[in-house]
Symmetry: C2
Subunit: 134 residues, 2 copies
């Protein structure tokens, strides 16, 4: 069921500084920041040969990463996104296996314009998992 790792998301308190670190210190290719107010984040992608890292900074008053940064003020790894071919079939299999889907259990349109789901980190050893239909 799990396909490619689409991205690894890292929440950071200062996107501009983090982008400079990935570009100048780590020597990676980074994109321009994209504000996604409907998702409560501003995003920069670090392009790697086989996948990407997504640097996330809170945007607005109800950012979904605000609580995480409250607990981890310096930033930290936030979630892993895996690609799936059929998100509804994946959801049904996961729920049958006892996993909890966050929210109302139905796929939403994610930050990349594709259907996504988030799975409860307590069911996956502390890792927040996003599934994205590609």
């Amino acid at each position: 069921m799990l396909g490619r790792v689409n991205h690894i998301a890292i929440a950071v308190p200062d996107l501009s500084a983090a982008t400079a670190t990935y570009r100048d210190v780590l020597g990676a290719k980074v994109t321009a920041p994209q504000a996604l107010p409907e998702h409560g984040v501003t995003v920069v992608f670090v392009d790697l040969p086989n996948t990407k890292v997504e640097l996330l900074e809170p945007l607005g008053d109800a950012s979904p990463i605000a609580a995480f940064l409250g607990k981890n003020p310096g930033g930290g790894m936030h979630h892993i996104c895996y690609e799936v071919a059929d998100i509804t079939a994946a959801r049904d299999r996961l729920v049958a296996g006892g996993a909890r889907v966050l929210g109302d259990g139905n796929p939403k349109i994610g930050a990349h314009g594709k259907p996504v789901l988030f799975l409860h980190p307590k069911d996956f050893y502390g890792t927040l998992i996003e599934l994205e239909q590609v």
Copy 2:
């Protein structure tokens, strides 16, 4: 400088249960557990089309992941490993850029038999970064 994401490491308190979750609930291909007493961990790889997830369970009294699991008893994302072509050149560039290398600053032979370094998470927004020369 940064090449492929070689793996994303997840520390878990119960490797057998976590392996079953990745295999049976998430439908991923997993390897048999490998005990690496010289690295203080037992490892299972989750093979994905473009990279792998490394599930780590502490092994022995001086496991390098014991403190992390003390703080995160349910488990959690532990580090990201990026491939580099020349680990000494990478180290020199990082140190010149102000980043701190853990330990004595010299590459060690890692769990995959290749030279590795770990970078201080405080210099990278809370993410522990491993570099592996491939």
